[in-house]
Symmetry: C2
Subunit: 202 residues, 2 copies
DNA sequence: TGTACATCAGTGAACGCGCGTTCACTGATGTAC
DNA sequence: TGTACATCAGTGAACGCGCGTTCACTGATGTAC
């Protein structure tokens, strides 16, 4: 059944096309017609390759998440949990800056209510959290795992928020040129605060 | 010309109706027909009172911003910049929790590209930043105003991010029951870090 | 090797719906005399 | 006080468009004999 190959081939092309479209026009600007035109197939072909546009978006987001994971992993050269944490945060900011719209799509996309994310999608997020937990654990060996996990989410949310508002160009956001510097200041203070909280001294 | 009164009256009702609609169904669920039905007028009446739906949303957002300002101001009883900062952050989280959809609308709403926010809208945001700058200034009297303003935005973004991901129920977000506690931990660590950064000791 | 048939990826016109905005009209209110 | 006229807030049916999804059809590919 070599047809399967052709089928997955088109599917791959559709995902790639959707990725390019989102990268150029943002999630809101993603239209079925543009995707199929770019992939060089008919409009209806989408529904042969994939359930609907939402699935296409999730496939793209999954790829983005994977690339982001790789970008964060490439940081691991640093020595000491403080440096690792700072490195992760900076890599996150850089990735967002370099992949603005694809990165935004990660957070803009919402499934129709009632439907929730498939498991394979959830798991990819767990990996992200785990990567942040590692350095936090050596930073605060006194805390139980549950709490570390919570702190990892909080740290992620904090960095994410600063990056998010900056990239959106929101009125209350940090101007983009200062983004990396401010993320570093934020995480630096946090890491310092954590250290003091544990040891009681500098 | 007492007609002006009637006109502004309907306008007020429309804004109130839009506010209720957003509070119930979120910004995405805001429809011109629902608003006018709730306000008890015809569909077309909107365009007599207001330029378009976008303006209606901005009017609602402006009210939300004002209420949020009041909620933050009600915090001011605290003694010392650390406590004030913690109080502001907590009040922010509480306000978001109690006004989920209206609060979300503040950040979801985007004007069509090219158009930018009117001045009265920008200024309302400045007030917010100013309110955060005050305690930061006493916390870091060594820093120039420009840098304080930047840190205020960063601090805002950090708190905002944690709250945002939590309320969205995002996979990487902090679970809601832990939100206030985590915001407190975040800001606590930051304040501690700032203090150490300035004084060099605990 | 050739013929008849089945399958199913791929096609694209048409469907259907949601929804913001317009516009010709109505009728209440105010003004002039 | 009454009449004619002007204004303009308010009406709601109709417009128009965007766009995801469907569906009857086509034609290339594979299978059976």
């Amino acid at each position: 059944m070599p047809d399967t190959d052709r089928k997955t081939d088109l599917r791959t092309r559709l995902i790639a096309a959707a990725e390019t479209e989102i990268a150029e026009k943002g999630l809101m600007g993603l239209k079925a017609r543009d995707v199929t035109q770019r992939a060089g197939c008919a409009l209806g072909a989408i529904y042969n390759a994939v359930a609907d546009l939402d699935e296409l978006v999730m496939r793209v987001n999954s790829r983005t998440l994977e690339r982001m994971g790789a970008a964060l992993a490439a940081t691991s050269g640093a020595e000491g949990p403080e440096a690792v944490t700072l490195g992760l945060a900076d890599a996150y900011a850089v990735f967002a800056l370099e992949n603005r719209r694809l990165w935004s799509a990660l957070f803009e996309h919402r499934l129709p209510e009632g439907v929730d994310m498939p498991d394979w999608y959830r798991q990819e997020h767990e990996v992200l959290i785990a990567r942040i937990m590692a350095p936090l654990k050596s930073l605060r060996p006194d805390l139980p795992d549950d709490e570390i996990r919570l702190r990892a989410r909080t740290l992620f949310g904090a960095v994410h928020g600063v990056v998010h508002l900056a990239l959106q160009g929101r009125l209350v956001g940090v101007p983009e040129p200062f983004l990396r510097q401010e993320v570093a200041a934020l995480v630096g203070a946090l890491v310092l605060g954590a250290k003091v909280a544990r040891t009681g001294k500098v």
